[in-house]
Amino acid sequence: MTRARKVPATLEALVAAREIVIVCGPGGVGKTTVAAAVAAMAACRQGGKVLVLTVDPARRLANALGLSPARAGAQQVPLSAFAKAGIVPHGELWTEMLDTKWSWDRLVDQHAPDRATAQRILDNPLYQNISGRFVQSHDYIAVERLYELHSQGAYDLIVVDTPPTRNAIDFLLAPERMAEFFSSRLLRLLTVPYRSRFADMASRPFYHVADRILGSQFLQDIAEFFILFQTLSEGFVSRAEEVQRLLADRRSTFIVVSTLESVPVREAGTFMGLLPAKGFHLGGLVLNRVLPAYLLSPGLAPRAARLSEDAEHLAGLLCTEKGPLRGTDPVLVERVLQEVGVNFNNLGVVARREASLRSDLSGPLGVVVTVPELEQDVHDLEGVLALGRHIWS
């Protein structure tokens, strides 16, 4: 049996062949930490200049890695942080936190026909709402910033922690949507000069209803904003297409992160189906916070049952004059044995549930790695590297 293309068996091999790694998946599964771990391992073991671009890291982790908003530029994780973890890295680890508002403003500056138009857009209240608050704008701006960083060529590898979106898919579709936005008929309807609107019989009812709902003043504000915004369209659309191409070409790969719970698994599964369908490279799957495999080994459940069912009897024997636990209160020991037995069954139920959800995620896939439930939150470089070693090779 031969395969057309050899699938890398480890994240190490996968990452070594790429310039962009996009870490994505449902919310709350540990994407940020996995992204940091991949970047840190690459910097330590493969060398070169590695950047992790993230959106909303936990504060302690951000502090530990020296993450600060893009405005301040990328920051290098100091060698002292590696020294504390007992490591001398081959390469450099850099971090940057996405600053949505700042990135939007720069985009406007770059694509506006002139300085005055740029300023009018920046001052428009609707623009401020788009750039500052919008979730969808996060998606677009993250890929946009990635494109910019990549084309500057300062880094050997960029690892992106994708923003929390309602659907992981939104991130992928963002450039496409941006292009659609500018070519839509609705944008044209809205940006028709106000006086000539009622001349066209076909669109008259449209304006009539729109006026009644939103009020003509607001409609005019919107129109003005869209007219200004349209001046950016050429630059935006071609940029969106380039971004799309970059994400789809062989320099980029996607790593999906999920926990083995039903809702995240469903979302991750959808995403894994969509990636190849859209022409993106699905490189790996990281299953985070998975219970240890020994919980599933056959033969243990009967032992657990014996422990909890015979707890009183066993405790009595353990605590006799000649028993190994003489001097200990048998009532306490009984309770302990009971709890140990019941707990094993409880965790066994969860482990089996996880195993069955895991089989739902199987498919034509490169690397699958699991990360055990860690004893501590990952809040420093040492923790990041410990996680990294679990997933790396």
Binding site: G28, R59, P125, L126, F206, I222, V340
Partner: protein, 321 residues
């Protein structure tokens, strides 16, 4: 203090993945079991709410899924359509199509426009007294403030028109602490707790909706008290292990490891739980105490109506204590 379920409109939010849909389902099931006519509405149509009741898919038309309990999923376009036909005597329904599209388009630039129609629809159910309680499986904590502050945003941006006219009565409903409230769901982990604490501050600063409570979901059991902890260490000693190996038909180590794993998992979450408890109690000096309810982790084979019922029972016990 207003009892949680005596309010008319509850928005359930929380960081993604903490179980806010399950909690919304359980809470509404509990209210319905107490005889309250309850509507539960899923705002982003992912279909998870329907799975919690195992009663078929939900749609924009509310459907009775259990006695006294109706479930629906929000649909912006359908909501707008309904709203237009109620408020405007539109000549032809056919014109709504392009309007709905335009609306979607405008809504992507102007905050609050979409929310005024969706949140407005739920406020309308409250105003018309169709139900005793409306439970909203709302958006995640990152977006809930924008959703609840929609009327204020609209007031700033829109001077006239039908949309503007909606904000007054909506604000009346949303701002009344006896009528409306936000429930934040968290799990005892770093990011969910941090987001919950930040959200509590933002709700106060940027919206008029009061905090009705915080629900801590998936709290792991405490296996041992201090004395049992010492007895456990004794059981882990070699003599006891050898003894048990003979009696239970094999080595006990994996069982003991599993117990230790649970103890560690619980301990790693304890600090976050404490942080949450402190900030929730500090958030209400002089004011009414905000209830903090605990829902245990469920060791179940799968999630569905059975787990929804168990969470409802856990919430009932918490509300009575």
């Amino acid at each position: 203090m207003v009892e949680l379920l005596d309010r008319k409109l509850l928005f359930v939010t929380g960081k993604g993945g903490v179980g806010k849909t399950t909690v919304s389902a359980a809470l509404s099931l509990l209210a319905a079991s107490k005889g309250k006519r309850t509507l539960v509405c899923e705002l982003d149509a992912k279909g998870d709410l329907a799975a919690s009741f195992e009663a078929g898919p939900t749609s924009f038309d509310a459907r009775e899924v259990a006695p006294h309990l109706w479930a629906m999923s929000m649909d912006t376009e359908a909501s707008l359509r309904q709203y237009l036909s109620l408020q405007l005597k539109l000549p032809k329904a056919a014109h709504i199509g392009p309007v709905a599209k335009m609306f979607d388009f405008v809504a992507s630039a102007a905050p609050g426009v979409r929310e005024i129609v969706t949140v407005g629809r739920l406020c309308w159910e409250v105003r018309e007294r169709h139900y005793d309680l409306v439970v909203v499986d709302a958006v995640a904590s990152g977006h809930i403030v924008g959703q609840l502050a929609a009327p204020q945003a609209i007031n700033r941006l829109v001077q006239v028109g039908l949309i503007r006219q909606q904000t007054g009565w909506m604000l009346d409903i949303l701002s009344d602490p006896r009528t409306s409230g936000v429930l934040v769901v968290a799990t005892p982990e770093e990011m969910p707790v941090t987001e919950t604490i930040e959200l509590i501050g933002r709700l106060k600063a940027e919206t008029t909706v009061s905090l009705a409570g915080v629900i801590v979901n998936r709290v792991l059991p405490e296996l041992f008290g201090t004395r049992e902890g010492r007895a456990f260490e004794a059981v882990c000693g070699e003599p006891a292990r050898e003894f048990l190996t003979e009696k239970i038909g094999g080595r006990p180590e994996p069982l003991l490891d599993a117990a230790r794993l649970m103890v560690k998992m619980r301990r790693s979450r304890a600090a976050h739980l404490e942080r949450l408890r402190e900030s929730v109690s500090a958030g209400a000096p002089g004011g009414a105490a905000v209830p903090l309810l605990y829902v245990p982790y469920l060791f179940l084979r799968s999630y569905g109506l059975r787990s929804t019922r168990q969470i409802a029972a856990a919430l009932a016990a918490e509300l009575e204590s």
